[in-house]
Every structure is written in structure tokens, then in C-alpha cells.
């Protein structure tokens, strides 16, 4: 009883918050955009700027994994693998073929999604934990390949002097804020694409697979196809993030893409709130900033990190921003007009 009442009040709070956001959404969006645009001129140093760009990169990684894990319910423990494939492919295309950043990034994302396709195929037979183990293996295999294929990946020495993105002859770097703005554009695009996919029959198919795969099959959803599609989209986004990361840092080696990265990405998704887009930003902000501000704890910070995650799972398993929207269902505009014409009673009951 007590618990139920607590839930009611928290739902009310969420409803109030969401109504507020919905009412002023244009204003809020404008304020956020302006703040993000002027951020580099607010007297921040390069160190801060770099952390913010890392938050952006991890938001993209989390958005990518969120499609697969948050919406479709397929847990991947090998996303560092896709990240590495994107980074290495883009860097190699840029270094060896002299392609510009955007061509190289597309190549990285394409190869990454091809890996996603190949990795998605076992979903025909594997479910849950077993699939996770396969993805974990994939991450390790990619790492081993980058370590040992000396001729191409330069082994443990890594790739150096990866060119920075160039737009209209202007080299984008940290100091001229170009990388920051490119990051903003990429993150915004990624979030937009995720939103467009989720709010369509494809997103509903993803969610139905997560909720109840058998029921989804019985509704005529080709679940295997959609799971593979989720893998491909997820790998594509992760590949782009990898390519951008490589270009920003200028140097990559196999140790940039360890299992720790995979766990970090999945922690962000869980902490932010699986199956939400808003959560990915908060999750990556917290988990990227935390190691920086806790430098004074040095050896103990991973202990704290672990405790925080355990407490999270105990008290807020749905993630910090993982609530379900309490706002009424948003009818598509055309559907609303149609219903108003034909049958107002449905809209009136809402």
C-alpha cells in the first residue's frame, strides 16, 4: 500500500515535469542549443572541452547500444569491437587512401555494420546470456586482430597521425573548437535518427521483441530480421563514434578498445535508463566526468564506481531517467485530424 502510494506520487511528479517540458519545449530546446553553441566561449580550457567531447562520443556509443539493448533487449558485451572496427577502418582509409574524414567515417560505419550483420546472424539460435557471450567473444576477437595483424593495423604500436577532419579547407581541431561543433552535429543527428526509428513500426517491433518475443512472432513480426536490423543500426552508430574518436585523438592502439570500454558503454545505458534517449546523455555525462573528478581517490575510484552501480541496481533499476512517459499518447497529426472527422468520442475520452 505504502509502496503503491509512493509510486503514485512519483508518477505525478513525472507527469508534472513532463507537462512542463512539453509546454515549453521550444523555449527549452532553444536555450539548450544556445548554451551548447556558446559553451566553448564561456572560458573553458581545452581539458574541459576534451571531456565534453568525450561525453558526446560516449553519448553516441550509448545511443547505439541503446537501440540494441535498451529497445530490442539483446545485451551486447562487445561494443568495443564495433567501436574498434569503426575507428581502425576509418583511420586506415584516411591514412592509406588519403580519403577525407567523411568518406573515411562512412567506410568505418559501413564495415562496422557489416560486422553487426554477421554477429546478428547467430541471433537465429541464441538468446539472452548465450548471445551476450558471443558478443563478448566478438569484442575480444577484434582486439586480437588489431593486436596481431601487424601489416595493416601496426599491431600493439597502433596507428599514429590520424588526420583531423577538414571542412572546406578548414582543419577542425580542439583549439579552434571545430571538433566540438562536429561532435554536436554528430550527436544531434544520431539522437534524431534513433528517435525517428523508434517512433515507427520498426521501433515498435524492436520493443515488442524485448517485451515478449513469442508474442511478437505470433503477431507476424519477423523477429530474426528485426534483431539483425537492430545489430546493424547499433553497429553503424558505434562505428561513426569510433571514426570520430580516432580522428579527434589522432592515435589509436588495441588498448583503446578493451572490454572495459564495452562495460562502460553498457553501464551508461543502464545508468541513464534503458530504452530512453534522454538517459544516454546523463549517463555518459556522469560516467565520463566521475573518473575525472575523483582523481584524488585514485586507487579507490573503481571501488566507488562499483558501489554506485550496485546501489543503482538496488534502488533504481530502471535507470536515473528511465521512467515511462506519463503524458497521453501522441497521435500522429493526420490520425488526429482523421479521428476528429470520423469519431470524436475516442479523442474525448482521453
Amino acid at each position: 500500500m505504502d509502496k503503491k502510494m509512493k509510486k503514485e506520487t512519483s508518477n505525478n511528479l513525472i507527469l508534472k515535469f513532463e507537462t512542463f517540458v512539453d509546454k515549453y519545449k521550444l523555449l527549452l530546446a532553444a536555450v539548450c542549443t544556445v548554451l551548447l553553441l556558446v559553451f566553448p566561449y564561456m572560458g573553458v580550457n581545452q581539458y574541459i572541452l576534451r571531456i565534453v567531447i568525450m561525453i558526446g562520443i560516449y553519448s553516441m556509443l550509448a545511443l547505439g547500444l541503446n537501440i540494441l539493448t535498451g529497445y530490442t533487449g539483446q545485451v551486447s558485451l562487445g561494443h568495443a569491437g564495433f567501436y574498434a572496427v569503426g575507428a581502425y577502418t576509418a583511420s586506415l582509409v584516411a591514412l592509406k587512401l588519403g580519403a577525407n574524414f567523411f568518406v573515411a567515417t562512412l567506410a568505418g560505419a559501413a564495415l562496422s555494420s557489416l560486422c553487426g550483420l554477421l554477429l546478428g546472424l547467430p541471433t537465429l539460435r541464441l538468446k539472452g546470456t548465450y548471445l551476450s557471450i558471443v558478443t563478448l567473444g566478438f569484442g575480444e576477437i577484434v582486439k586480437m586482430i588489431t593486436m596481431n595483424w601487424d601489416k595493416v593495423t601496426n599491431g600493439t604500436l597502433g596507428l599514429k597521425n590520424i588526420p583531423k577532419p577538414v571542412i572546406f579547407g578548414v582543419k577542425l581541431t580542439l583549439s579552434n573548437n571545430g571538433l566540438y561543433y562536429l561532435m554536436l552535429v554528430l550527436v544531434a543527428l544520431t539522437a534524431l535518427i534513433c528517435m525517428l526509428i523508434i517512433k515507427s513500426k520498426i521501433g515498435r517491433a524492436f520493443m515488442s521483441i524485448k517485451e515478449d518475443e513469442l508474442a511478437a512472432t505470433m503477431m507476424g513480426i519477423k523477429t530474426t530480421q528485426y534483431k539483425i536490423l537492430a545489430f546493424v543500426i547499433s553497429a553503424f552508430i558505434t562505428g561513426i563514434a569510433g571514426a570520430f574518436y580516432a580522428s579527434m585523438i589522432g592515435f589509436i592502439d588495441p588498448n583503446s578498445f578493451t572490454f572495459d570500454i564495452s562495460t562502460l558503454i553498457i553501464s551508461i545505458v543502464i545508468m541513464g535508463g534503458m530504452g530512453t534517449i534522454r538517459g544516454m546523455f546523463l549517463g555518459s555525462a556522469i560516467l565520463i566526468v566521475f573518473p575525472e573528478v575523483s582523481r584524488f581517490m585514485m586507487d579507490y575510484r573503481f571501488v566507488v564506481y562499483g558501489i554506485v552501480l550496485v546501489l543503482m541496481m538496488r534502488f533504481r533499476p530502471q535507470g536515473l531517467l528511465g521512467w515511462k512517459s506519463q503524458l497521453p499518447y501522441k497521435f500522429p497529426k493526420l490520425a488526429r485530424q482523421e479521428l476528429e472527422k470520423q469519431d470524436k468520442s475516442i479523442l474525448n475520452t482521453l
Binding site: I193, L196, I197, S200, K201, I202, R204, A205, M207, S208, E211, D212, L214, A215, A216, T217, M218, M219, G220, I221, K222, L229, G275, K324, P328, Y329, F331, P332, K333, L334, A335, E338, L339, Q342, D343, S345, I346, T349, L350
Partner: protein, 256 residues
């Protein structure tokens, strides 16, 4: 040939013959019930009809085309849809989204239509939303469109399941114990609703334990016990059939 013709289908799980040479037929616009004691193999029959299980022998012919041993997609696409004995909704999705998942198979726009929000996407998406809202209103859940499926009471969740099955544009709807867990008033409403469905031209196959429901609504009844069909006929005949009474209540040895 009947609308749905099932010819001596058999399903074995290892040594256990779950369904043994069961045949039945369903005409268009009928309500046919399949009854039998627990573990008789009724749900297995449903699983074979909907492609969850392959069949070991026999054939299932729907509207002149064999549909056995194809995938569930083809079966739903041909027009057979089902509900589940233990409710299998998508609990964290809204009621209308649940029903929209049902319309998925009739929604033809592709990935890039969704990505670029083309005219085709907008038109089809709004068509389906309107359709889903109407299905829900017809079933008496017009005021529940916004709610998350998990927050609905049991009886209404059952109705959402039926709405979802209707939304696939099914011609035959398989209902697996739709009245389970409903109070008498709710199951009366359900009876009414199933009759309305029939009058609209749907064909209904029903698994049910509640005899008041079965006897009131069925045009014909098949009785299965231990995987074998033991009786078939009109409700009145089944109620007085000795084999059926024996299967349900246990027999008396006559020569003892």
C-alpha cells in the same frame, strides 16, 4: 472442403504423443470450441495451427492452401491470429502500441520511409493508428488507449490481446481460454463480444474450460482427451456424451 481443414495432425515430443491423429474442420463464420481436460493437447493444437510447432504428420489447409510447417509470419499473413492462455501482452508498451504491433504485418512502409518521414509513412502510420483506436473502441477500451498494458486489470488485458489479434486483419481468431480468470459478469460481456465478432464475419476457434461459456456460444464442439479426439458435435450432444463425461469426471467400470 471446409474453410479450415485439419487432417489427422500428429505431434510427438520424444515418446509422448501430445496430439494424435486429430482432425477437425471449421466453416467460415462459425464459432468452434475445442475442449478437454487439462493436458489433453488443446494448446498444442493451437501451437500447431499458428506455426509455433511443426507437425509430424497430417495437414492443415486454410482456404485451399496448406499452411502447416511454414513460419508464423506466413500464417498470420494468410489471416490466422491468436491469443494466449497466459496473457502475453507487451507490458511496458501502451495499449494502443500493443494493438499497433498487431497492425505491423499490414504496415508496408520501409526503413527509409520511417527515417525520412515520407508521405507514405505519414499516411500509413496515421491509418493504422486510427484503425487501432477504432478496434479498441469497439472492444470497449476506448478510454484505455493511453495506459500501459501492465496497469490494466486482468479482464481488460485479455481484451487487449483480442484487439491485438483482430488488428492483424485476421479472418480466423484463435482464443486460448479467453474467459479464464474472469468473473461471471465479465465472461458474459465476453460472450457478447465474441458473438459480435462472429456476426462481423470473423471465424472463431475457442479453447475454454468454462462450460457455461462453451455451451452458450459454440456452434460445434470438439473434445480432445490424451491427444485424441473423443467426440464432436453440437453443444447439446456433447453435454450428454458418455465419453466426454467419463473424460471429465472419470468412468465407472461397468462389469465390476
Amino acid at each position: 472442403m471446409a474453410y479450415l481443414q485439419v487432417n489427422s495432425i500428429t505431434k510427438q515430443f520424444g515418446g509422448l504423443v501430445a496430439v494424435d491423429n486429430v482432425s477437425f474442420e471449421v466453416e467460415k463464420g462459425e464459432i468452434v470450441s475445442i475442449i478437454g481436460p487439462n493436458g489433453a493437447g488443446k494448446t498444442t493444437v493451437f501451437n500447431m495451427l499458428t506455426g509455433v510447432y511443426t507437425i509430424d504428420s497430417g495437414e492443415i489447409i486454410f482456404d485451399g492452401t496448406p499452411i502447416h510447417n511454414t513460419n508464423p509470419y506466413n500464417i498470420v499473413n494468410r489471416g490466422i491470429s491468436r491469443t494466449f492462455q497466459n496473457i502475453r501482452l507487451f507490458p511496458n508498451m501502451r495499449v494502443i502500441e500493443n494493438v499497433l504491433v498487431g497492425t505491423h504485418i499490414r504496415t508496408k512502409y520501409g526503413f527509409f520511409d520511417a527515417l525520412f518521414r515520407t508521405g507514405r509513412y505519414k499516411k500509413e502510420e496515421s491509418e493504422k493508428v486510427v484503425h487501432a483506436a477504432k478496434v479498441l473502441k469497439d472492444i470497449g477500451l476506448g478510454n484505455r488507449i493511453n495506459d500501459y498494458a501492465q496497469n490494466l486489470p486482468y479482464g481488460e488485458q485479455r481484451k487487449v490481446e483480442i484487439a491485438r489479434a483482430i488488428a492483424t486483419d485476421a479472418k480466423i481468431i484463435l482464443l486460448d481460454e479467453p474467459a479464464a480468470g474472469m468473473n461471471p459478469q465479465e465472461s458474459d460481456e465476453l460472450l457478447c463480444f465474441i458473438r459480435q465478432l462472429r456476426d462481423k464475419g470473423y471465424t472463431i476457434i475457442l479453447i475454454e474450460h468454462d462450460m457455461s461459456v462453451v455451451m452458450n456460444i459454440s456452434d460445434r464442439i470438439y473434445v480432445i482427451d490424451h491427444g485424441k479426439k473423443i467426440a464432436q458435435g453440437l453443444p447439446g450432444e456433447i453435454a450428454n456424451n458418455e465419453c466426454v463425461i467419463e473424460a471429465y469426471l472419470g468412468g465407472v467400470k461397468k462389469d465390476a
